[in-house]
């Protein structure tokens, strides 16, 4: 390759990087792939399945989506009716069970918000968020 072509390619890359870097700095909170959930609290479906029956599923999606379909045994718990739904969940919780929260997709924040409240307000320790959410469950259930 000619040296001229390399320098032209580098110039184009540099020009493309300037707006990208600006967007990453100025609009950081608008980037959908940026997760607010710590990596240690995100679990994949294979790991959850390996935990067996010790798992309690929490569906953090809006009520209508839960009513339509949900992971078998999952309990609805969302922030729209937190005060009403939380006691129902706690009535079934047991100290030795792991809680796995899910919402619609990888990018939705509802599961992270519910998991955070379970950890901070309810002070449960074993609370996790399912990677990929309901979408991933649907893909893998076959």
């Amino acid at each position: 390759m000619k040296p001229g072509a390399i320098s032209r390619a580098l110039l184009l890359v540099a020009l493309a990087v300037i707006p990208a870097a600006g967007e990453a700095v100025l609009f950081r909170d608008k980037i959908s792939w940026r997760s607010r959930i710590p990596a240690s609290e995100i679990v994949d479906l294979d790991l959850v399945r390996s935990w067996g029956p010790a798992v309690m599923w929490i569906d953090a999606r809006p009520e209508d989506q839960y009513q339509k379909d949900h992971i078998p045994g999952a309990i609805a718990l969302n922030e729209d009716r937190w005060n009403e739904l939380l006691p129902q969940f706690l009535g079934q919780w047991a100290p030795d069970r792991k809680v796995v929260v899910y919402c619609s997709t990888q990018s939705c924040n509802l599961a992270g918000d519910v998991a955070r409240r379970l950890r901070d307000e309810v002070q449960l320790k074993q609370v996790f968020v399912l990677e990929g959410g309901w979408e991933e469950w649907q893909k893998r259930k076959k």
Binding site: G4, R8, L11, L12, L15, A16, P19, D29, K30, P53, A54, R61, P62, D64, Q65, N78, E79, D80, R81, W82, N83, E84, L86, P87, Q88, L90, G91, Q92, W93, A94, P95, D96, R97, C108, N109, L110, E121, V122, Q123, L124
Partner: protein, 269 residues
């Protein structure tokens, strides 16, 4: 070269053009044009301005304690010279709805997109987004951000206490912290089940209370919801909930004894 270029066979013409182009490409001016045109192709979309100009793409709202919804108005104007069609308006969360006044915005016309956030049982700062898709090729998508600061009236830590079957029936304490600038002076605490006792006392600092909850015994599984009622706002006091349980042996669950009581929190909550 006696023959004109047009009369030559295609293969010969192609060879001649290739040769000519190679010569041209070696001239520094032509190289510079290549680089400039490539740069312009990158920079041109950045310099272009959307026809639909937004007054603000981020709004911050501070609803009053009794409010159930927070409504944001995102205003725009079509500053271009062609109509803009709003193809879709989608909120990031089921708790937010977004509506557009019009689907087509004529040049010079103004309008707004209304985003309504249902507060529900949320607290703290809530950030929700609305994606607006238009047929403007330069800015096909605009993200509108609605930040809602929901005042924390009372913070209960933790809002769940439990005893394992056979454990000593000692009282467990929930710390209630009054939110900033909330004129709460008293809490009314009641257990829904007679299996538990709940008492309130002044806490370690101003604006704090201790709520002590104790089961009558831990021989059998039990469940209750403790209601915590504030004396503010006077006309619509807020109600908060603490769940208390005596759990059975590991992995056993108990059905809430008072589902009706917790199924319909008071309307002021």
């Amino acid at each position: 070269m006696g023959r004109s270029l047009a009369r030559m066979p295609t293969s010969v013409r192609t060879r001649i053009w290739r040769k000519k182009y190679k010569v041209l490409a070696t001239i520094p001016t032509v190289k510079a044009i290549h680089v400039i045109s490539a740069a312009v192709s990158v920079l041109l979309p950045l310099a272009a301005r959307a026809d639909l100009k937004w007054e603000q793409t981020t709004l911050e709202l501070n609803p009053a304690v009794a409010e159930k919804q927070a409504v944001g108005h995102f205003k725009y104007q079509n500053t271009g010279d062609a109509p803009v069609r709003i193809k879709s308006v989608k909120a990031s969360c089921g708790c937010t709805t977004a509506q557009t006044q019009k689907n087509e915005v004529a040049p010079g016309e103004k309008g707004e997109i209304t985003a309504t956030f249902n507060i529900g049982d949320r607290s703290g700062q809530q950030v929700k987004t609305v994606n607006v898709e238009t047929d403007d090729p330069k800015h096909p998508t605009t993200v509108l951000t609605l930040k809602t600061n929901i005042a924390q009236v009372l913070e209960l830590t933790p809002n769940f206490v439990f005893w394992q079957s056979g454990e000593e029936a000692q009282p467990k304490t929930v710390l209630a912290k009054v939110g900033k600038d909330m004129p709460i002076t008293n809490l009314d605490v009641t257990s829904m089940s007679p299996q538990f006792e709940a008492k309130v006392e002044k806490g370690p600092a101003a604006g704090q209370f201790r709520i002590n909850i104790k089961p009558k015994d831990t021989k059998t599984t039990a469940f209750t919801t403790v209601t915590v009622k504030t004396d503010f706002p006077k006309d619509a006091p807020k109600v908060f909930y603490i769940t208390a349980r005596v759990t059975g042996p590991a992995a056993a669950a108990v059905t809430p004894a008072v589902p009706v009581a917790v199924a319909s929190p008071s309307p002021e909550n």
